[in-house]
Amino acid sequence: MKTVFRIVVLAASVASAGCASIGVQPWQRDVLARQDMQLTTDPVEAAIDDHIYFSKEASSGGRGFGGGGCGCN
């Protein structure tokens, strides 16, 4: 548990230090604006998969908040 926390803090500080120079200008976001370049392209499919794997495995979530609990696990 402590290792995980340390990794997260390190990653966050490395990320924020270099962030100011990484990235694109506002007018270069054409590709990023595409529907299929969104982090969750298909929210219904993602919710269905999250539910299937929550019911059959011991892990859940990661991407965001799930749709809620159920009695399936």
Binding site: Q25, P26, W27, R29, A33
Partner: protein, 326 residues
């Protein structure tokens, strides 16, 4: 009415994920939305558009002294030599006069003197209309570029094309000077220079003319091209149950009956969109049929016939929408 005392200042503010530059020109609020990197860049772009808008206003406004329009209107029958840009505009107006069978006429301003649109049913006497009609009629003008010769009592007014032309000119200048995507909006007549990078398209709301409309504004994504709107807001006459918009038909001297409250058209340039929306209004009852025949995307808002000035909830009141052929 354009007031020369309106300040010529450009203000720039941040709006969401883009910049908004504002100024006053041609008697309406103007704005330039841009994806500039900072306020300074946004100001530079807005200034370019504003400078062009004020230049066109100063040159072609019929309310200002000392410009080419004043020279033409005070020529008292003598030929006037005009510069290249004015010649292009007159050429365009002539073509449109022909294409519209005389309904679009830059000499029709004189008719306005005979009519008062105050929501009443007062109609000028036939003699007054006839007198006004005598001063109208582009076919009576003599145009041999670069010389324009109007009959002594005729006056021209570029108001019907000036704003849309200014939008297109501003867009051309911005395109030339910067890769940044901009939306140029002069009082509801707008065009984009290029597709924005930060999202798929600029989002524009098209509202029915009445603020109390039951239908929420149509939301449009504009990635290229232009929109122009013709509308008669609250200036109309009501007589014998017929609503007369303030658009006058220069071939009859009368306002066009059964005009829509507003017509918005999407086209490749603001000039084209503006002409199509104006011609549609001139068609009165046949506005939708006309627009459908042109194969362009349009939004036509009408009042229900029995309660002019209000917007009903019935399905028949839904705006007519057109789908482009492409």
């Amino acid at each position: 009415m354009s007031s020369r005392r309106v300040s010529r200042r450009v203000t720039v503010t941040r709006a969401g994920d883009h910049w908004q530059g504002r100024f006053e020109a041609m008697a309406c609020p103007c704005e330039v939305l841009s994806e500039a990197a900072n306020a300074g860049e946004a100001r530079r772009l807005t200034q370019l558009a504003a400078t062009e808008a004020w230049r066109i206003e100063d040159k072609f406004s019929r309310y200002l002294a000392g410009n080419v329009v004043e020279r033409i209107n005070t020529a008292a029958g003598e030929p006037v030599e005009v510069d290249a840009e004015t010649a292009e505009l007159i050429e365009f107006a002539t073509t449109l006069n022909r294409l519209s069978d005389g309904r679009f006429d830059i000499s029709s301003g004189a008719l306005r003197r005979a009519w008062t649109f105050d929501g009443s049913d007062r109609v000028p006497p036939p003699a007054a209309i006839a007198a006004a009609l005598r001063a109208v009629g582009w076919h009576r003008a003599s145009w041999t570029p670069p010389l324009l010769r109007l009959p002594a009592d005729m006056e021209i007014d570029f108001g019907g094309i000036g704003k849309e032309y200014a939008v297109d000119r501003a867009v051309a200048i911005l395109r030339e000077r910067s890769p940044v995507s901009c939306l140029v909006n002069f009082g509801g007549d707008l065009a984009v220079t290029s597709a924005p990078g930060s999202r798929r398209a600029w989002t524009v709301g098209i509202e029915p003319a009445d603020a109390a409309a039951t239908r929420s504004p149509a939301r449009l994504s504009l990635a290229a091209g232009a929109l122009a709107t013709s509308g008669d807001t609250r200036r109309y006459l009501l007589r014998d149950g017929v609503r007369y918009g303030h658009i006058l038909d220069p071939t009859t001297g009368w306002p066009v009956p059964h005009t829509p409250r507003s017509v918005t058209v999407a086209a490749d340039t603001c000039t084209q969109a503006g002409m199509l929306s104006t011609l549609a209004m001139l068609e009165g009852e046949g506005a939708e049929a006309f627009l459908a025949a042109q194969g362009v995307r349009y939004w036509c808002y009408r009042d229900p016939p029995d309660r002019p000035g209000t917007v009903a909830n019935s399905p028949s009141d839904l705006p007519q929408e057109g789908i482009s052929n492409a």
